[in-house]
Each structure stands twice: as C-alpha cells, then as structure tokens.
C-alpha cells in the first residue's frame, strides 16, 4: 500500500495548470475542489495517484488534477482503470464518470468492475441528463422528463444507480449531494481508505440542461428534511428537528416521528454499513423519502488483486520455471546434430 509521506501536501499540489472549462455554477467545481482537498489527507504520494475518465462533462476531470491521468473513451474507464491497478497495485486509482458513461455505454464494464472488487474508487456524477451532447435523456432520467431526445417526455424507466451497483456486488456505495464539499471531501477519504471497489454517486446539478433536478433533495432549505445522512453505528434519524427516523415495518422501511405513537429514538434502526447481507442496503438506496446519503454500504471483502497476488505467490513457490529458457527447453525436445 501507499507509504505515508513526511511533507504535507495542500490542495494546490493537486491543481494542474489547465483552465477549468465547466459551465459556471456547475457542481463539478465542488467535486474537483473536494477531491483536491481530500487527497492531502489520504497520505498518498502525488505520483501514486491516477485519475481515469471516459467521456462526458465529468470526464474532463483528470486534466485538472496535477497527478497521473488518462481521459479515455466513452464508458471504458473501468476497464482501463482495472488494467492500471492490476499492473501496479501500489497506485491509488480513481475513475471519474457520469450516469451515461457508466450506466449506458459503459454498463457492462460498470457492473463487472463492481463484481470483481478491485481496490479502486469510482465517482459517478449523476445529473440525470447528457450534458456534453447538449441535453438528451440518460439512463437515470425520469419517466416523463422532457429532453432534446424526448420532447414529449421520456418513456424509458430509469436505473437507480445504487440498486444496480448493489445488484452487481458493490461492496462500498455512498451517495452525496453535489453542494456539500465538506461531507464530500470526507467521503472521498473514506472511499480511499476502503479496501475494494468503492462507488460514490454524486447528485450533481447540471445548471444548463437539467437545472434543479435535485433541488427538492439537496437545497439547503430542505436537505435536512429530505435526506437521511447515514453513519455506521448511528440510529437512522433525520429532519431539521432531528425528530424523524426509520423503522422496519414488515418488509418495508417506514418514516416515523419521535414522540408520536410512543416512538422513541431506541425504536429506530441503527445503520450497519458493514453488514454483508445487502437486503437493508437495497431498501435504503431505493428509498425516495428521505433520500439516503452518506455511506450506505461498506463491506470489506477480499480484493481481486489480493487473490491474484496470493495465487502468483503460490505458483512461483512451486514452479520449476524461473526463466523462459527453463520452459522452452523443458518436456519433449529433441536434438538434431
């Protein structure tokens, strides 16, 4: 793993000389700055950090980071990042992607990278729209949503990214509003510290093509009432007055009010992000009121590179082949004089 360094970086050390070209007011600026602030806290050397992206607004990200980076092709970042990490497990590898890049054109790579559990981090900028191609519906756009490619309203039901990710075997899934840099910075650090593939869905506002898509969830005035920020080991409590909570009623999550019908804080569910069984995590990612944010699932498991390293170690220890010559001249050979 990465070695701790003496000299402490600041966010400036991770800022490249490139002019940032996102639209003014875009949440992407928040994500960029949060990442630049998180990296100095991770104890990782700058030369060991690699950002890989696909195509889309989100995917300009690597150009703005003063680290190693690759801006690749649409949807394929998880495959490329997997190769980087398998080639050099010492690196801190980040995939920066969007809802279209990861779940439409790159859907296959997205589910398989989660299934394999390679120790890399994925940040998905979900704005429920295609921004860079100027406003078509995406796999997370809502039914009825009017876009350039659905002028009469979208007829394709959306993916719920968390549900898809957990279904594919994601060990770490977190969700965060695009307007809360402090919490986002901490989530990036948590994702880095998690051993395995981590996925962070950012509810990211697109000021041009889907402005206000999350305002009912993320606006300062409503967020405490509309979101439940989950913390491992803490009761599932939310609301401006901290008087609402979640309980399990039969097979469904139910919102209750503390003080009503004899409900006390002790009756609320306690969040267990580390539970292997994902039943409750699935319910939480699907919940529409309140919307679950924070780390919903964080279940540590063996990573692909650990399994591969172990196999390689065993095979090397037991093999008589140390050099290719040992292999080439072994077995059925014959000599012509």
């Amino acid at each position: 793993m990465e070695t701790t360094i003496e000299q402490k970086y600041t966010f400036k050390d991770f800022t490249s000389d490139q002019e940032v070209r996102w639209c003014p007011g875009c949440d992407d600026y928040v994500i960029l700055r949060s990442m630049q602030k998180a990296l100095p806290e991770m104890g990782v050397k700058r030369e060991d950090v690699v950002f890989i992206s696909g195509i889309g607004c989100s995917s300009r990200f690597p150009y703005y980071m003063n680290t190693y980076g690759m801006h690749t092709i649409h949807g394929r970042a998880p495959g490329i990042a997997s190769g980087v990490k398998l080639a050099n497990p010492n690196l801190s590898v980040w995939v920066m992607t969007g809802d279209g890049d990861s779940m439409a054109i790159g859907g296959n790579h997205f589910i398989h990278v989660l299934r394999r559990n390679i120790n890399l981090n994925i940040v998905m900028f979900n704005n429920e729209i295609y921004g860079l191609t100027k406003g078509q519906f995406s796999p997370t756009s809502l039914v009825g949503q009017k876009t350039k490619s659905s002028p009469y309203g979208n007829t394709q039901p959306p993916f719920q990214p968390g549900e898809l990710a957990l279904g594919a075997g994601a060990r770490f899934f977190a969700r965060i509003g695009g307007n809360v840099p402090k919490e986002m910075t901490q989530l990036f650090i948590d994702a880095h510290n998690f051993k395995g593939t981590s996925l962070i869905e950012v509810l990211q506002n697109c000021v041009i093509f889907n402005d206000g898509c999350f305002k009912n969830i993320t606006d300062k005035a409503v967020k405490e009432d509309k979101q439940i920020f989950l913390e491992h080991g803490k009761p599932m409590i939310f609301g401006k007055n901290r008087d609402k909570g979640l309980v399990l009623n039969k097979l469904k999550l139910e919102v209750v009010t503390i003080g009503e019908n004899g409900i006390t804080q002790e009756d609320l569910l306690v969040h267990d992000a580390k539970e292997k069984d994902l039943t409750l995590h699935q319910m939480l990612v699907r919940l529409q009121y309140p919307v679950a944010t924070g780390i919903i699932r964080s279940f540590e498991d063996v990573t692909l590179e650990e399994s591969e390293d172990e196999l390689t170690r065993q095979v090397k220890a037991n093999s008589k082949f140390k050099k290719t010559d040992d292999l080439f001249f072994a077995g059925e050979t014959y000599t012509v004089k």
Binding site: G69, T72, R76, G83, H109, K316, F329, Y334, T335
Partner: protein, 618 residues
C-alpha cells in the same frame, strides 16, 4: 480384408501425407498429434493441420460433424500439411465421404468396417455401402473390424465401460499406422503413462489397443504405398513441436523477460485465439498477469491501462473482436502507448466461419479505426515463426511507442511444426523508453529524433505526473489542443512515426529467383503453401519464378517497389478477395498485379497454385 485390385509397388518418397478422420468425439486430433510428434522425434520434418467443426460434439455420424487431422512428414523440409493424401484413415462413413476426394488414386484407405452400419451410411447420405458397391475400386481399401478388435483386445481389463472401450479404437488405428511407417510406439506409451498417471486401468487399456493395432498390421504385413525412412536434414539444434498459438504466447514471454517488463494480457475468449489466453494464464511463475475481461473492449481497455502503468501489454482476439477493439486501439494510437493486438484471423465477415482460416482482416487491421490512425501491422507465416513475430511485435511497440497489430490465422495458430528453440541469449535486445528521472521541463510528447517515439512516463515516478487522452494534444506539452495547424502537424507526425519503422525492419528478399518471368507474392500464414508450390514449379522446369513473402505490412519493407520492377509479371495470392493486392496498388503505381484468391476457409492447395502460375508463364 484388403482389396488389392491396385497392385502395390511401395516406393520410397521424400514425404507422405496422412489424414485421420472420424466423428468429432473420436479422438482424431489426439491420434494425429501422437503420430506427428512421434515422427518428429524420429527426425522427420512435419507440418500438421487440424480441421474440426465448430460444434463441440456434432451429432454422431453426421457429415458436418467430421473432425480431421492431417500430417505431412518428410525426410526433406516440409512447409505445408500437404495437399493430396497418401493414406486416409476413416473411422466412419461420413469421414470417408467428406475426405475421399483428397486421396491420390491408387492409394490406401483404412476404414473401421464396424462403423459402416445402415444407420451410419444413411447419416452420411450413402445410398449403398461404398465398401461393397465397387465405388472404391480405384483405391486400396483396408477394411478392419476395428471396433470389434478393440473390444476383443480389452477383454479382461477392469473398470472400463462400453463408451471408453469404443473410444479407444483410435489407438488401434494409430497402432496400425505406426507399424506401416516403422514408427516406435514408445512416445505414445510414455504419453499414456503421464496422462493417466492416477488411472492405471486406462494406461493398460490404451497400451493394449495400440499394441493390438500394431500387431494386426504386422500380421497382415501391411505396407504403405509410399514411405519415407530417413530423418530430414534439419539445421542442428534443439527442437520441439509447437503449435502456432503456443509459439505466439511464448514469444511474448520471451519479450517480457528480455525487456525487463511484466507481461499483461487482457483478453476475452474467441475462436481461434483463445489458446493464447489458455497458455499465458499458466505462466504466473513468470509474473504474467492474464486478465479474462468481460468483453473484447474491456480486454483491450485493461491492456491500455496496464501499458500506461508500465507493463508490456497485449490483447488477443480474432476478427469480430478486432472490430470491437477498434475505438480503443485508436485511443492507444493517439496516446502513443505501447500495445500489441494479436488477431488470429478466421473466416468472416461477422461470425463467419469461426474454426476455418482466412486472411480477410488485413484491411481491417490497416484501416479499421476512425480518423487518421495508422499502426504497425506485421504477420507471422508459420506455426514456429509465430514466436519470432510475437517477439518482434513486442520489440517494435516498445521501441517505437505505437500499437502493433500482429496477424496470424487459424491455420498456423492450430497447426504445429518443429521449432528450433530460441534461448533468451539468442534474441535481439529490446529497449524500452521508460523515463526514470524527474525533470523540470518534462513533456510527454517530446520525441526521439530517429524514431519519433515519445518517452514513457509511468505512474509512481515522482515529478513526471501528466495527463494524456483521446483528445488531440499539443505537439510538445501534450495539453489538449484543437488548434488547426497543430492537428495537421500531429496527424503527420503520427504517420511519419510509422513510416520510419521501415528503417528498422529487414528488406524483403526473394526465393528461387531474383529476377525473371513471374513473381509470386504472399503474406502471413500462406508461406508454406506458396513456398512449396513455387519450389515445385521451379523443379518442374520453370526456372524464373520468384517468391516473395511479406511479414511486414505497415510499413512495407523499403525495397518493395524495387522488387516489383524485377519481374515481368506479378501475382498476389491470398485467402481473401485481394486485400494485399489493393495495398500494393495503393502504394505503387504502374504495375499490373494479378490476383489469385481463395475464400473457402481452407489453405491453398499445391496443384491449384501451380496451375494458376502456369497460366501466367505458359
């Protein structure tokens, strides 16, 4: 029972061709491999060609379920699996029906007469039994009740069910052929001992059946029409029999060790390329990282990632897979990262003929990407030289910092031949362009003056942090640039970088004649067939027919145009509709280029080539 209407005058010849055919579950590939390996140990030169259906177990006895293995053994150099057969071993009527056309008149057929039941004859669409209706009278037919004799031989061996008894009849056939050609049974018996180490009853059973066939032939004093006795004159050295796909895999192993890099393979299974994946996954002891990805695109994507991180990265596929990899290959090309893509060509388009050979991906390899996107294209030409060209592909990609496509095909990938083993010390140096030291003014797109190759700065190196990508980049800093003149400049630099590879590759040489009436041109996996046909026509009294075979296609060797001027006529022979001929026409104006094309999923035959050459020179 032997029909000896044809009087047998056995002759000693330089080479013989034998084909074993049967149901796809009859073990014909094993039988053929054993015979060819034994012959190689004896000192013959060999070339083999398996031909099997794409169904894993096609319905028993059906015409399309016939699996065959052909072997050419010689006391002289043999460069193809051969054309016309001296001996056909047919384990069922369907095998006889689909292969008889290849047998030389008067030559020998060995059949398992037990398999010529009414049901099997119907499946093979025979109206009457060919063993009885006189239709085989121009051949020497040896009818052997092979199934019954195998059962007889296995009486008393414990632990065998009916199925395994019937399945071992291929060893009876092998035993017969061993006796006919004076081959030792030792190699095959050793093979049983190793393969069935923990199942002694199977060692016993297979050995008994092999011996039974051997002694049966001895009792009948079966002699072949033609046989070859002496070992071939091969260059001194240590040899092994190798399949093309294995040789390809080993070429990359050697290149990784020589260059001091770790080997990364990103791949998705596809016929007929999968054996390279099968081979490389075994070699974790050399630190090989072989990653079976979720699809073809992830296969190349992971290889690009590994290349960025400093591994010798390759991806292996066949035609349809190359189509899927096209966009990512363009990315590797514009990022100027080292990457080898192996395309083991098969019959196309689309799914095409997955288990059959063809050379029809050449233009896809050359041009199958968006934008101006040249890459180095080279092709291997024999099972054994797949090693050399895999090694060369790795060397070129690392030294020139641009992707290389290595073309092989189903024919040489599955074929086997003796390989004079290369020790690592005998192989040329491979330099990589990894930058080790941080420098203030590092720019990822600064280039070597001679090759135009950029430096390779890999993550983990302090001070060389940089970003690259699929967008056009400034010619020095590598920063995104959409400036009009810069794009044109970069496009031309990337093209010139490929052109300059010409300086580092060998000239094309001709065989048989340096100048003359006809130049036969081929490329890739047809070397054996073309070489053998041109050799023969020159031996037949035509003196001025030259042969030039291309392994380097993009760029072409620098003396290519000069070569074309040296012959009165030129013919390009390919297993496609004329793709290399097109490339020559694009590059060199003013030459009349004849074509001979075959698109049947099969290699060229000697006779059809010679007939075509004669048309041009007579």
């Amino acid at each position: 029972m032997i029909s000896d209407k044809v009087k047998l005058q056995p002759e000693v010849v330089e080479a013989v061709v034998i084909r074993f055919v049967g149901d796809s579950g009859d073990g014909m590939q094993l039988t053929g491999t054993q015979f060819s390996d034994t012959s190689a140990m004896f000192g013959n030169d060999i070339a083999t060609f398996p031909n099997y259906p794409s169904e894993i177990r096609a319905p028993q006895g059906s015409l399309y379920g016939v699996s065959g293995f052909q072997v050419h053994i010689g006391s002289v150099e043999v460069s193809t699996p051969g054309d016309n057969l001296d001996l056909l071993v047919a384990m069922n009527p369907a095998g006889l029906k689909t292969n008889l056309h290849a047998l030389k008149p008067g030559h020998t057929i060995i059949v398992d007469s037990d398999s010529f039941s009414k049901k099997n004859l119907e499946k093979a669409q025979y109206e009457t039994n060919p063993l009885e209706d006189g239709s085989l009278e121009n051949y020497r037919v040896i009818q052997v009740d092979m199934t019954s004799l195998t059962k007889e031989a296995l009486k008393g061996v414990e632990g065998l069910d009916n199925k395994s008894i019937t399945r071992s009849k291929n060893m009876f056939a092998l035993g017969m052929v061993y006796w006919m050609y004076g081959r030792s049974r030792d190699y095959t018996i050793d093979f049983f001992n190793k393969k069935f180490k923990s199942k002694p009853h199977l060692i016993e059973a297979n050995t008994r059946v092999l011996n039974a066939g051997y002694f049966f032939a001895e009792t009948l004093e079966l002699i072949p029409n033609a046989y070859t006795i002496s070992p071939a004159k091969m260059r001194p050295g240590t040899y092994r029999i190798i399949m093309g796909n294995t040789a390809t895999a080993w070429g990359f192993l050697a290149a990784a060790e020589k260059s001091g890099l770790e080997l990364f393979l990103g791949s998705y299974p596809i016929t007929p390329a999968t054996d390279i994946l099968h081979e490389l996954v075994k070699h974790k002891h050399f630190g090989v990282k072989a990653f079976q990805a979720e699809d073809e695109i992830a296969g190349i994507a992971s290889a690009i990632g590994a290349s960025f991180a400093g591994d010798l990265a390759i991806t292996t596929t066949s035609g349809p897979g190359l189509a899927l990899k096209g966009e990512a290959l363009g990315l590797a090309m514009i990022m100027e990262l080292p990457l080898v893509v192996v395309n083991v060509q098969r019959g196309g388009p689309s799914t095409g003929l997955p288990t059959k050979t063809e050379q029809s991906d050449l233009l896809q390899a050359m041009y199958g990407r968006n934008g101006e996107s040249p890459v180095i294209v080279i092709a291997a030409s024999t099972p054994a030289d797949c090693f050399q060209y895999a090694y060369e592909a790795a060397k070129l990609t690392l030294e020139h910092m641009t992707p290389v496509i290595l073309l092989t095909d189903g024919y040489i990938a599955n074929g086997s031949a003796p390989w004079k083993i290369k020790s690592l010390n005998d192989l040329p140096e491979i330099k990589n362009r990894i930058s080790k030291n941080a420098s203030e003014d590092f720019h990822p797109y600064e280039r070597d003056e001679a090759t135009l190759a950029r430096n390779w700065a890999i993550p983990g190196t302090a001070g060389l942090e940089h970003r690259i990508g699929g967008l056009e980049k400034d010619s020095i800093t590598g920063n995104v640039s959409q400036a009009p003149e810069n794009h044109e400049k970069m496009t031309k630099i990337r093209a010139e970088k490929i052109n300059r590879v010409q300086i580092f590759i060998p000239n094309i040489e001709t065989e048989f004649a340096e100048t003359g009436d006809l130049l036969v041109i081929g490329w890739g996996g047809t070397y054996g067939s073309l070489h053998s046909a041109v050799k023969q026509i020159n031996e037949d009294g035509y003196k001025n027919i030259g042969f030039a075979h291309f392994n380097y296609i993009n760029p072409l060797p620098k003396n290519t145009e000069e070569l074309l001027t040296k012959f009165k006529k030129i013919i390009v022979c390919e297993l496609n509709n004329g793709q290399f001929a097109k490339i020559l026409r694009i590059n060199f104006e003013g030459f009349k280029i004849h074509q001979f094309n075959k698109i049947q999923g099969l290699p060229f035959g000697n006779n059809e080539l010679i007939a075509e050459f004669k048309k041009l020179v007579d």
